[in-house]
C-alpha cells in the first residue's frame, strides 16, 4: 500500500458501499410480482432450505408459463438465513429492500419468528412450507403468517393416538433432539400421553444431536421397559437410534415425525428401518400436480426432491393464486383471498383458517414396509 494507503482504503470502502447500495437499492419498478423465498440455503440445514427453494422455483415457472398473474410475470428472489434468527431479520430486510410482495418462508421456526416481526410491520404476508411450531399460528401474534404444513401439536396428537389406540402400547419412552422442532413435538407428545390416562411416559430424555453413539440412551430405553419410543427430531439421529436398538436385538416400536418421514432415513438406516412408523403429510403420490412437480424436479436435478419440496410448491402456488384472486397485492385483500378461496396445489385443494393453518392438508401415519413408506389407512 502506498503512502496514503489508509485513505485510499477508506475511499475504496466508501465507494464499494455506495456501489453495492445502488445495485441493491434499485429494484425495478413494479412490473413484476416479486416472490421472496427465504430459508437455510447454506450451513448444516441447507438440504431443507434448498429443497423448498426448488419448490418455489417450480411454482414460479408454472405460473409464468401460464402468463403470470394480473398480467405480470412473477420474479423469484431468494434469501439465505442459515436458520439463524439474527440472520433471518437481515434476510427479511434484504427481501423488503428488493420490494417483494409476498414471502415464502422461512424454514426453521425460530428464524421464522424473528423474521415475522419484520414482515408484520412492513405489511407483508409470509407462508412457510416447513415451520411447524404451534405458537406461530396459535399465539395470535403473527396475523401475517400462514403455513402449508401441520403444526407440531397436531402431529404429536396423531402419534400418541396411534400408539395408544391402534398399537395399544402402555409404556412409552419419549425422546427428542433438544432442537426447536424435536423438543416442541416431544413435549406435546408427553402432555397428550399423560392427559389420555391410557399410557405412561416411562422415560423423557433429550439426546445430543450429531452424537456418535447413542447406546447409553438405548440401554436406558431398554431398562425402562418401554414398549414404544416416540422420537421428536430429524432423520440422522433417528436412524442412529433405531440401528443401535436393533443391533442390541431390541424390538421396541419406533414412532416418529415428518422430520423422519424422509427417504434418506430408509437409506441410512437400511434394513433396520423396517417397521418404523412416522407421521407425515397425506400421501399425494396420486395427485397429478404432485406427480408433475416431482417429475420436473427429477428432470432438472437428476434426483428425487427433498423434504419440503411439495409443501413449498403448494405454498408458492397458494400465495400467487391468492394475489390473482385478490386482484391486487394489497395485504388485506390477499389475506381475505387466502382464507376464502380454495387453491389447487400438489397437496390437494387447500385454503386457510383464521389462524393461518391450512385446511385440507392432512397428516397420516406411515410405516416402512419393504424399504418404502406406506400410508396406513
Amino acid at each position: 500500500m502506498g503512502k496514503n494507503g489508509f485513505v485510499k482504503v477508506l475511499i475504496a470502502f466508501t465507494l464499494a458501499l455506495t456501489l453495492t447500495a445502488v445495485t441493491f437499492g434499485t429494484g425495478l419498478a413494479a412490473d413484476t410480482i416479486k416472490l421472496g423465498a427465504a430459508g437455510a440455503h447454506s450451513g448444516d440445514l441447507a438440504s431443507y432450505g434448498l429443497s423448498a427453494l426448488r419448490g418455489a422455483e417450480y411454482a414460479v415457472e408454472l405460473i409464468n408459463k401460464k402468463g403470470g398473474i394480473l398480467g405480470k410475470k412473477v420474479e423469484l428472489i431468494s434469501g439465505d438465513d442459515v436458520c439463524k434468527p439474527e440472520v433471518a431479520t437481515n434476510t427479511a430486510t434484504y427481501l423488503l429492500s428488493k420490494k417483494v410482495d409476498v414471502v415464502q418462508g422461512h424454514i426453521c421456526s425460530g428464524a421464522t419468528k424473528a423474521a415475522l416481526g419484520v414482515y408484520k410491520d412492513a405489511g407483508i404476508i409470509a407462508m412457510s412450507p416447513s415451520a411447524t411450531n404451534p405458537a406461530l399460528t396459535q399465539s395470535g401474534d403473527y396475523p401475517n403468517f400462514f403455513r402449508t404444513i401441520a403444526s407440531d401439536d397436531a402431529q404429536a396428537k396423531l402419534e400418541v393416538d396411534f400408539a395408544l389406540n391402534v398399537l395399544k402400547v402402555k409404556n412409552i419412552a419419549v425422546l427428542h433432539d433438544k432442537g426447536d422442532y424435536g423438543k416442541g413435538l416431544a413435549e406435546f407428545a408427553k402432555q397428550f400421553i399423560e392427559k389420555s390416562g391410557k399410557g405412561k411416559v416411562v422415560l423423557y430424555e433429550g439426546i445430543t444431536p450429531g452424537g456418535m453413539d447413542y447406546s447409553a440412551v438405548v440401554q436406558k430405553v431398554k431398562r425402562s421397559k418401554a414398549e414404544a419410543v416416540i422420537f421428536g427430531g430429524y432423520h440422522p439421529e433417528a436412524s442412529k437410534i433405531v440401528s443401535q436398538m436393533r443391533k442390541k436385538r431390541m424390538k421396541t416400536i419406533f414412532i416418529s415425525d415428518d422430520g423422519v418421514k424422509d427417504d434418506t432415513f430408509i437409506k441410512t438406516a437400511g434394513k433396520y428401518s423396517e417397521g418404523v412408523y412416522a407421521t407425515g403429510p397425506k400421501d399425494v403420490s396420486k395427485n397429478p400436480m404432485a406427480i408433475q412437480a416431482n417429475e420436473a424436479h427429477k428432470k432438472k436435478y437428476g434426483a428425487d426432491p427433498g423434504a419440503f419440496y411439495l409443501n413449498a410448491v403448494a405454498s408458492s402456488l397458494a400465495l400467487l393464486t391468492a394475489i390473482q384472486n385478490a386482484g391486487s397485492t394489497n395485504y388485506d385483500d390477499i389475506v381475505k383471498a387466502l382464507r376464502t378461496k380454495e387453491v389447487e396445489t400438489p397437496l390437494g385443494m387447500i385454503k386457510f383458517d383464521e389462524r393461518g393453518d391450512a385446511i385440507g392438508v392432512g397428516f397420516s401415519v406411515f410405516q416402512v414396509q419393504n424399504g418404502v413408506y406406506n400410508e396406513l389407512k
Binding site: A21, G206, K267
Partner: protein, 401 residues
C-alpha cells in the same frame, strides 16, 4: 524452468488430492458412479497458476521480514503514520463521521440493518479484545456473555415488563458477574487449557438454556421482544431500524472511548504486563488474580450490553444463535484486524460481517470463499491488518528521551 516444474508437481499433487472428493460421486442407492473428469482439469490448471502466485507472495513476505531483521528502513505501521499525520487524519475522520451519521438517509433499511450488525460485532470484538488482545487470556466461550445479555433482556421483559434502557445496565452488570464467575476457576490455567475451559463454559451456558425449559423456554426461544423506545416513544418499523443504528453508533463510540481510556490506565498497563510475562508481572507487584478477574469482567460487560441490543433488534432469542462458531468468528475478527488495536478490531468486524452479506450473490460458495480468505489473510498478514500501535508508541518515546 525450475519454477514451472515446481508448479507442475504442485498441480499433479492437487489433482491427486482432490481426485476422490471432486471427481467421483457415488450414488449408493442406485449403485451408480458418476465420474466428473472435467473438474480434475480445472483443479490441475487452477493449482498450477495459483502455485506461482503463492510462491511469489511468500517470497515477497519473507524478503520483507528479512529486510526488517537487517534493520533496513523499518516502516512505521500504516495506522501509526496515519494518526501522526494530522493533515490526513482530520479530514478522514470528518469523512467517516459524516458518512456514519448520514448513512441511513442514503441507504436502504437492509443496508442500515447489516451496518448495525457490523457495529454489534465491533463492540463484541472490542470487548473480547480486552481479554484476548490486552490481557492475553485466550477465551473461546465469549458468546456465553452475549447470550447472558440477550436472555437478560428477553426474560426480564417477559416476566416483569422491564424496558430496554433499564435492562441495558443490568445486562452489563450480569455480563460482568458471569465474567467473574468464569474467571474464578480458571485463574491458575494457562494458554490452551484456559481456551478449552472457556469453550466448555460457553457450551454449558447454551446447553442450560436449551434444557432448562422452565427458566429459558428451551429451544423454542422467546418471541415478541419489544424494540427499544426513545424516552417512551415507540418508533414505526422503518424508523426503528434507523434508531437502533444510531443507538449502536453511540454505544460503539462509548465503547471505543472507554476501552481506549482503559488501555492507557493503570489496569490496562497491568493487563499488557500480564500478557507479556505473567511471572515478571507478578514480580512487579501486580495482583494477578485481580487483574485477570477485571479483564474477564470488563470484557464480558460489553457482550452483555450487545446481547440486549441483539434481543431488541431480532425481537426473538433462542439458544441456536449462541454456538461456538459465533465465539470463533468474534475471535477471528480481532486476530484478523490486529490484536490489541481498536482500529484493527473495527476493520476486522466490518470485513467479517459485511463480507458474507455482500457475498450473497455467490450464495453456495460464500462460506468456501470466506474460509479460504481467512487462511490467506492469516498467512500473508499474520500480525493482522493493523499491527499493534502500542509497541511503536513505546519505541518512539524511548527515542525522544
Amino acid at each position: 524452468m525450475r519454477e514451472i516444474i515446481k508448479s507442475f508437481t504442485v498441480s499433479i499433487w492437487f489433482m491427486f488430492l482432490t481426485f476422490p472428493i471432486m471427481v467421483i460421486k457415488v450414488n449408493t442407492i442406485e449403485k451408480t458412479i458418476e465420474w466428473r473428469w472435467e473438474r480434475l482439469i480445472f483443479v490441475g490448471i487452477g493449482s498450477f497458476f495459483l502455485s506461482f502466485l503463492w510462491r511469489y507472495l511468500i517470497t515477497r513476505k519473507e524478503s520483507g521480514i528479512k529486510k526488517a531483521e537487517a534493520g533496513e528502513e523499518i516502516k512505521q505501521p500504516l495506522s501509526q503514520r496515519f494518526f501522526e499525520d494530522r493533515r490526513l487524519f482530520f479530514p478522514a475522520l470528518g469523512g467517516v463521521i459524516i458518512l456514519t451519521v448520514t448513512f441511513p438517509l442514503f441507504f436502504s433499511s437492509y443496508q442500515t440493518n447489516i451496518m448495525t450488525n457490523a457495529l454489534m460485532y465491533v463492540m463484541l470484538g472490542l470487548g473480547l479484545n480486552i481479554v484476548v488482545g490486552l490481557a492475553g487470556l485466550l477465551d473461546l466461550g465469549y458468546v456465553a456473555f452475549y447470550a447472558v445479555g440477550a436472555y437478560c433482556y428477553a426474560l426480564l421483559n417477559y416476566h416483569f415488563g422491564i424496558g430496554f434502557w433499564a435492562v441495558l445496565p443490568i445486562a452489563a452488570a450480569m455480563g460482568a458477574l458471569f465474567g467473574i464467575l468464569l474467571g474464578f476457576p480458571v485463574l491458575r490455567l494457562r494458554g490452551d487449557y484456559l481456551a478449552i475451559v472457556t469453550l466448555g463454559f460457553g457450551e454449558m451456558i447454551r446447553l442450560i438454556l436449551e434444557n432448562w425449559n422452565k427458566f429459558s423456554f428451551g429451544p423454542s426461544g422467546i418471541a415478541n421482544i419489544p424494540r427499544p423506545t426513545f424516552f417512551g416513544y415507540q418508533f414505526s418499523f422503518d424508523h426503528s431500524f434507523i434508531y437502533i443504528y444510531y443507538l449502536m453508533i453511540s454505544l460503539t463510540i462509548l465503547t471505543i472511548f472507554v476501552v481506549n481510556r482503559l488501555q492507557n490506565s493503570r489496569i490496562g498497563r497491568a493487563w499488557i504486563a500480564l500478557r507479556e510475562d505473567e511471572i515478571a508481572c507478578q514480580a512487579m507487584g501486580i495482583d494477578i488474580r485481580k487483574t485477570k478477574l477485571t479483564a474477564f469482567a470488563l470484557g464480558a460487560t460489553w457482550a452483555g450490553m450487545v446481547g440486549v441490543v441483539f434481543a431488541a433488534k431480532t425481537t426473538f432469542v433462542n439458544p441456536a444463535s449462541f454456538t461456538f462458531m459465533e465465539s470463533a468468528i468474534i475471535l477471528s475478527l480481532i486476530v484478523l484486524g490486529g490484536m490489541g488495536s481498536i482500529i484493527g478490531v473495527i476493520l476486522g468486524a466490518f470485513i467479517f460481517i459485511l463480507l458474507p452479506e455482500y457475498l450473497r450473490a455467490i450464495e453456495e460458495y460464500r462460506m468456501l470463499v470466506f474460509g479460504a480468505a481467512m487462511v490467506v489473510m492469516m498467512v500473508f498478514r499474520p500480525q493482522g491488518l493493523i499491527s499493534n500501535i502500542r509497541r511503536t508508541y513505546e519505541f518512539r518515546s524511548s527515542k525522544k528521551q
